[in-house]
Symmetry: C2
């Protein structure tokens, strides 16, 4: 999948992933009202609104970007119907040729991480038959439990030719509380990055490894240092736009070849219709507003090279 | 909920939580066959088998233990039907008076952690109406993202009088890879434990805080040190039994009053019927075997005081 992702980034000239994080506040009222009317003010009603909203967004941006990143928490909060909407979103985006990065941030001890890896990347085998639960192309993974928690994901990635992005340095203000602590002369995030490089060494695609990293746009200096520590890892960069990262902050995350990073924007795209700048589209035109915001983001990012 | 948990631990004289982690391998064949016949060799068939297995276990142990801990990965691997089984298990156990600790190990940036906290502990509010997704009493939380990722859980715990267990030192062999790194003279797990104490300071029940910690039975010396760092935090102790922790390793996790720790066993209880020691119960008697294993575990642990 890393080869498809890199190839699509080049083809579409867009190192961009759109975060499909449908909060209640972002879903246009007309979609909510319609689905509440049909399904009641219930989790089912919300979930159906989420599906409609996501499909509209996906149709509007699928030719422009290589990938989407649904954040599972935003679906899990709506319970079983919400998780059905997550699954439908993943499957719909894949049917449109998009690479899907499941932002699940799972991580546990060995056998439990294996369950997560099988549940999201491969499927469980029952009497020789493979049954698929969720079916993303990549997932994000939390490294706090060490290699035991990562290895099952690596094994599944090898089997399925899929990939992971390991949390190295997250975009939030308090990410430094533990991640920046200096141990043996190096911050924890750098120790994790060294492991990411090591874990990816025998899991390599044409030019990049199956094992990527998450590093927030809000920390460009660390991005520069980490780029060097993990030259073969794709960096998934959250924090652009709504969280405060700007295009000029992004340069250090890329390699000399203009590859090696993919920048996420969620609210800035899927909620574009709420911004002054795109207000002309109105609520009904939320998908066209998202498309316009993607084009602007593409120009903004490509301007740094 | 911490007060109910402590009170039930005293009443039942059992600082024990049973891990309801239904792998395919542990579910008795007669249950799998029956449900595969009714629902096909599908995720639905597995999920129905999980529900039947869990209900049998719960009925057999509910009067003996204060709490259960379903590991959500073991359900999530079976997709939507698996998550329905998770929800039914949580609800069934609560209807039997048990405290339910959702072993979800979630953790993300602020707004995303809030979605997880609402999804598992409180519910989302739509037009003034609260809709519940999952409804555990406690959940486990990953601290790698720092206070931003924890605060939303604390806020929801305050509202709902529920609680969390923060991963401090996990039971797996490679937990030391990042958790044991020494920063400013202290290992990372101790820095996390200091935060656990701080986070719990204004969230206190009668004798213990709403903010507990996970510390593996496989590291008793660290347990002793951590017990002192977080005197008001309940410690959830995995790793007893199948993972290698013994009763004598557990003593340091408890306070002088014999409280302050709750020990988890999963396979050792729910798969007891597979052990030589409980083979007399046969597969059909898996629930009675689990009951016998709980009684033995109770005697084993109470023997240390």
């Amino acid at each position: 999948m890393i080869d498809k992702l890199v190839s699509d980034i080049k083809k579409k000239n867009a190192p961009i992933v759109v975060g499909l994080d449908p909060t209640l506040n972002l879903i246009p009222n007309f979609i909510k009202e319609k689905n509440f009317k049909a399904y009641g003010e219930t989790l089912e009603g919300i979930a159906q609104a989420v599906i409609e909203y996501n499909k509209g967004l996906t149709d509007a941006i699928a030719d422009l970007v290589p990938a989407v990143k649904p954040q599972i928490a935003m679906y899990e909060q709506f319970g079983i119907p919400g998780l059905v909407a997550f699954k439908e979103t993943v499957d719909y985006c894949k049917s449109k040729g998009l690479t899907v990065i499941g932002d699940i941030k799972r991580g546990d001890i060995g056998s439990t991480s294996e369950a997560y890896a099988r549940g999201h990347l491969s499927g469980v085998t029952v009497n020789g038959k493979k049954l698929k639960a969720f079916d993303e192309d990549f997932v994000t993974v939390n490294p706090y439990l060490g290699i035991d928690g990562i290895k099952p994901f690596l094994d599944v990635c090898r089997e399925e030719k899929k990939g992971i992005f390991v949390l190295v340095k997250t975009s939030n203000p308090s990410s430094g509380e533990f991640q920046d602590r200096v141990c043996d002369g190096k911050p924890v995030y750098e120790l994790v990055a060294e492991k990411v490089r090591e874990w990816g060494e025998d899991l390599c695609g044409e030019s990049y490894s199956y094992v990527g990293a998450v590093v927030g746009a809000t920390y460009p200096e660390m991005g520069a240092a980490l780029r060097k520590v993990m030259p073969k890892s794709y960096i998934l960069v959250p924090g652009y736009g709504a969280q405060g990262g700007t295009a000029k902050d992004l340069k250090p995350f890329f390699n000399e070849d203009g590859l090696g990073a993919i920048v996420n924007s969620s609210r800035g795209i899927i909620g574009a219709y709420k911004q002054e700048k795109y207000a002309r589209f109105t609520e009904e035109g939320y998908a066209d507003a998202a498309r316009a915001a993607v084009i602007d983001m593409k120009n903004d990012i490509n301007g740094i090279f």
